[in-house]
């Protein structure tokens, strides 16, 4: 673990990714406490204020402090996206490993079905599921998790199959190691790493998908300070007060860049060949 950390720090992507994601996590956890104002209180006299010393990022159409809304909203955007990815990864890993373990006809049938399900684009799948469950943040989380499941199942299965065929697994079998030792000490560490890389990159995608669902009015509902919703609400006013739309847009992009960089950094650090 320490060695991985050191290797991550040496690549510019890994370092920048770690810094961005760590900052975002701190904000997501402490946001409600460090926010200078209440994110949902209207202040009719302070509407459409440009950035000032009192309001670093200005105020929105109801006079709410934009910085406070972003800080509090980090939770509903970043943490939700991470949970959704974790959900999709868990479900996908379960299906993928089972499929690889069963092998033969069952594996073939499961994977062809997964391929078929994947021909429904993630956003469309998420839209359909939200339509079914009703629009809310929690349902958007489930929708994204389910939409990610087939992709993660595919990745897990191919990794598990590839690892199973590796020489070091054959060597362990030849040495007469127990099945338990082979699965835990030889296979699992090599299966988990690529899955974590894939999951990290998917968090970036989940942040964007989550914000998109809220933007379309199918995720978080007003007056919640969710970032995608903030972009959607401030579109009407972007002509006269562009900063209202700029800050949440920048926040979404920054988180997505952070997770993309972290994922790539992790992949390089975990892959000793490069």
């Amino acid at each position: 673990m320490g060695e991985l950390f050191a290797r991550m720090r040496r690549s510019p992507q890994g370092l920048l990714g770690m810094i961005l994601v760590a900052t975002m996590l701190v904000i997501a956890i402490t946001g409600p406490w460090i926010a200078p104002y209440d994110p949902e209180t209207f202040a009719p006299l302070l509407r459409y204020k440009p950035p000032t010393f009192e309001h670093w990022m200005g105020t929105d159409q109801y006079g709410r402090d934009i910085l406070s809304r972003l800080l509090v909203g980090a939770r509903s955007t970043v943490l939700m996206a991470m949970l959704a990815s974790a959900l999709g990864t868990l479900a996908g890993a379960l299906i993928g490993t089972t499929s690889a373990y069963l092998g033969g006809r069952a594996d073939e049938a499961i994977m062809r079905t997964i391929d078929a399900v994947m021909s429904i684009p993630s956003l469309l799948m998420a839209l359909l599921i939200v339509t079914l469950l009703g629009k809310s943040s929690v349902n958007a989380l489930f929708a994204i998790g389910i939409a990610f499941t087939p992709g993660m199942a595919r990745v897990t299965r191919s990794v598990a199959l590839a690892v199973r065929k590796q020489d070091y697994v054959s060597a362990a079998i030849a040495r007469g190691e127990s099945a338990r030792y082979i699965v835990w000490r030889e296979m699992l560490p090599n299966v988990v790493a690529p899955i974590i890389v894939e999951m990290t990159i998917r968090v970036a995608f989940a942040v964007m998908l989550f914000a998109t669902l809220s933007f379309l009015g199918l995720g978080a509902q007003p007056p919640k300070p969710e970032w995608g919703l903030m972009v959607s609400e401030s579109r009407k006013y972007m002509g006269q007060s562009p900063w209202m739309i700029l800050w949440p847009s920048l926040s979404i992009a920054t988180v997505a860049i952070g997770f993309n960089l972290l994922g790539d950094g992790l992949r390089d650090a975990l892959n000793p060949r490069t």
Binding site: S119, L123, L127, T131, L132, L216, A253
Partner: protein, 315 residues
């Protein structure tokens, strides 16, 4: 490409479309909303509701309803929209035409920019130009379509007033104005794909440039240009076909968002309207058509790949 491979692939796409139809119908079937109530409104009398349920076949078991729906779809009958009272099929296919126009232009723009960018990055690996392309592509893949669309409207339509912000003019009606209306949507959906595909082309080409046969070609004294275009690029571009086909999934998702923002009356916008008004037949038809488009795009890409790469004979 052996006939056996073609047959197997055809059977697969049949299975794919079957699973998709089952999923789409299944998800919309268990929707909490009652189609009869939606059609008649909350104040309908129980007798009227029962009559409509009987007429729509809502009392039949689920598998029978699925069978009726599917056999209708196979005969080109997608049902009647509960919102407009019009047949769903023609509306959706007109909309699909507009979406395909958007999608094809986006793929064209993507390829004409992503290939040179990726090749440039790989050839100048480690130099400032490569770093610039890499950084830009990181930013590109990290901005959701609704954000880039909004920012593009803000700058190019609101401030500079170079292009119209929203709306749609058919190309057959007024080509110039039609193109004007398509520029921003096409650019918006292309950004993520350009960033993604240029990165893929770059890494494929970097890998290929390190192989023995490229070294052999160089040592033979072939000019760098010949090595790059005749030897390296051919092999590096093959996997790109698959990636482009897979990206059609992102593209279709992006099309939904972009059509909604730019008020472009395509398949995506029809779907969003259908979802907002809980218009079941339209949701089912839109989702089915969209997923089928993606499945068929991948089918064509697989065939092209097998045709170009003689090593693939799965058969």
């Amino acid at each position: 490409m052996s006939p056996a491979y073609l047959l197997k692939r055809l059977a697969l796409i049949g299975y794919t479309l079957f699973v998709v139809s089952l999923l789409v119908f299944g998800i919309t079937q268990i929707l909490p909303a009652d189609a009869a109530t939606m059609l008649l409104g909350e104040n309908a009398t129980p007798a009227a509701l029962a009559a409509v349920r009987e007429k729509l076949g809502l009392n039949d078991p689920a598998w029978l309803q699925y069978w009726h729906w599917l056999s209708g779809v196979l005969q080109g009958d997608f049902g009647t929209s509960t919102r407009t009272g019009q047949p769903v099929g023609p509306t959706m296919f007109t909309a699909l035409g507009r979406s395909l126009q958007l999608a094809l232009l986006a793929i064209l723009l993507t390829l004409s920019l992503a290939l040179p960018l990726g090749i440039g990055g790989a050839v100048n690996r480690g130099k400032a130009a490569d770093l610039g392309v890499s950084i830009t592509s990181y930013i590109g893949v990290s901005i959701p379509e609704f954000v880039s669309a909004t920012l593009l409207i803000l700058v190019l339509a609101d401030w500079l007033q170079w292009l119209p912000a929203t709306g749609y003019v058919p190309l057959s009606e007024n080509f110039g104005r039609g193109i004007e209306h398509l520029v921003l949507p096409v650019v918006t959906v292309s950004i993520i794909m350009i960033a993604h595909i240029s990165r893929m082309v770059r890494s494929e080409l970097v890998d290929v440039l390190h192989t023995d046969y490229i070294r052999a070609a160089r040592l033979k004294g072939l000019p760098p240009r010949t090595v790059l275009f005749r030897h390296a690029l051919r092999n590096a571009l093959l996997p790109t076909i698959t990636i482009v086909a897979l990206d059609v999934g992102y593209l279709l998702g992006g099309v939904i968002v972009v059509e909604e923002i730019f008020a472009l009356p395509g398949l995506g916008r029809q779907l969003i309207v259908a979802i907002q008004t809980r218009d079941l037949p339209s949701i089912q038809a839109g989702a089915l058509i969209m997923a089928s488009t993606y499945a068929i795009a991948n089918f064509i890409a697989d065939l092209a790949y097998a045709w170009l790469d003689k090593r693939i004979q799965y058969g």
